[in-house]
């Protein structure tokens, strides 16, 4: 398993243009598979536009204590892109005035941003209905200074969303690295202890499941049932909901698909599973994604591909909700990941 990001390894695919070239490449150019735009048109969706802004997703930096093989951020300990205090202030301005009801902090490991706690404290005051932090679990056990995170989250009423690829050690460690499973279990127990995910508690703990390989996620309800049963029986762990997320063919997952010669088959599976009913609710229709340096994107995936919003407003300091709502969403073939099967978003299925 790699211990560095594609960027640090100076891999071809660290370059977003190279990724876009592949996504626009021969498989689609030859007509073997339809371009996402054509598929949209054929199912009666001319262009993709947002409905209303509900979720502000802020990526506070690409640094992470893990180097998961499927990571669409290409995050890792070597990534230096970290949101500054100044950009955080600009975000807070927007958080205080936005109509969005959900604030979603992500990374990397957001907790590794040196101003993370300050930012959470400030944002928690802003009166947002649902305040999510995406925590990878192992960070809580990575270093003593993070051990009190469950209590810190609880104090500020943060909704914790954490990834766990499987309820068995083998499958989890294969995707996320040796020892990740045991640390994640310990972290989940600590979160339960702080009141998270317990029936009757208002502290919400959700889990995210991504497939550990070149296949699509199965039925969200069935997987939630299996996760709940196994985690409860084996470790006494409780949580609220499980969200299944499809791996999008970008960054390290794209690198993996190509290296393992699964790219064509995976793209074909995504296209075959295209579900027109999922289109109306894809994440970009209610979300704006903000990067560590304040640029605005239709989603975290477009952020990683360097595809900024197609709008006169492109930076958080110029944020204007009424202007942004008229934009046309920037799409490419990675979007098939959001429309496959029951659909996929940071909140799980969309149908």
């Amino acid at each position: 398993m790699a211990t560095k990001s594609l960027k640090a390894r100076e891999k071809d695919l660290a370059n977003t243009n190279r990724q876009l070239e592949i996504l626009n490449g021969s498989l689609f150019e030859s007509g073997e598979l339809p371009f996402f735009r054509d598929k949209l048109t054929a199912s009666g969706h001319e262009v993709l536009r947002p409905h209303s802004l509900e979720i502000l997703q802020i990526n506070v930096g690409y640094m992470c204590n893990q180097v998961c093989e499927h990571c669409h951020v290409d995050a890792g300990p070597d990534r230096k892109e970290i949101m500054t205090l100044e950009t955080m202030e600009e975000c807070l301005e927007v958080i205080r005035t936005t109509g969005a009801h959900t604030l979603d902090l992500t990374g990397g490991a957001p907790e590794m941003n040196p101003n993370f706690r300050w930012f959470v404290e400030q944002a928690a005051e802003a009166g947002i209905r649902d305040f999510i932090v995406r925590s990878n679990l192992t960070i809580i056990r990575a270093n003593k200074k993070y051990h009190d995170l469950p209590d810190f989250f609880a104090k500020h009423g943060v909704h914790v969303v954490s990834s766990l690829p499987h309820y068995t050690r083998g499958k989890t460690d294969k995707q996320r690295g040796d020892g990740v499973f045991d640390k994640s279990i310990k972290a989940l127990q600590e979160l339960n202890k702080a009141g998270y995910g317990i029936p009757g508690s208002s502290l919400q703990l959700d889990l995210v499941y991504n497939p550990s390989g070149a296949f699509l996620p199965g039925n969200q309800e069935a997987l939630e049932r299996d996760f709940k049963k196994a985690l409860k029986e084996d470790f006494g762990i409780e949580f609220n909901s499980l969200f299944t997320i499809t791996n999008l063919p970008i960054a390290r997952f794209l690198d993996y698909l190509i290296a393992s010669e699964n790219y064509e088959e995976y793209m074909t599976a995504l296209v075959d599973a295209y579900n027109p009913a999922a289109v109306s609710n894809v994440m970009c229709t209610n979300t704006i994604s903000v990067s560590w340096d304040g640029w605005l994107y239709d989603c975290d995936f477009n952020q990683m591909l360097g595809l900024k919003v197609n709008n006169s407003v492109q930076h958080i300091r110029d944020f204007q909700e009424n202007l942004l709502k008229d934009r046309e969403i920037v799409i490419s073939q990675h979007c098939y990941g959001c429309t496959a099967g029951a659909g996929s978003s940071c909140q799980g299925v969309v149908t």
Binding site: K171, A222, D272
Partner: protein
């Protein structure tokens, strides 16, 4: 011309069999879909049965399809391999139980 009897890409074309016999093809796919729904057995259990049978009938398409299906359902490789052994044990048992027929015949013909 395809140069092999089994082409992985053909699995995707399975639905096309309906084109040459619509009524029967549709009935088959309806039935097939129904069989694998949640029922008295869970869809997960049925996926493992399908995987075991796929090995017994030695269908490479079904093996690919139900390995993937198992992965999607979060089935572990240990569970998958046990299912294959269950199929193999029945298959070898079915061969071996004919040994009794051989023994019967042997006894009958021998003085």
């Amino acid at each position: 011309m395809a140069s092999e009897y089994y082409n992985p890409a053909d699995l995707r074309k399975f639905g096309k069999i309906t084109e040459w016999s619509e009524a029967l093809g549709e009935k088959f796919f309806d039935y097939y879909g129904k069989v694998f729904e949640e029922g008295a057995l869970s869809a997960r259990e049925k996926s493992l049965i399908a995987l075991a049978v796929a090995h017994v009938v030695k269908c490479p398409y079904c093996i690919d399809a139900y390995t993937k299906d198992g992965l999607e359902r979060g089935i572990t490789k240990e569970e998958m391999m046990e299912a294959v052994h269950a199929g193999a044990a029945i298959e070898s048992g079915a061969t071996l139980v004919h040994g009794v027929q051989m023994m019967n015949k042997y006894e009958k013909l021998s003085m």
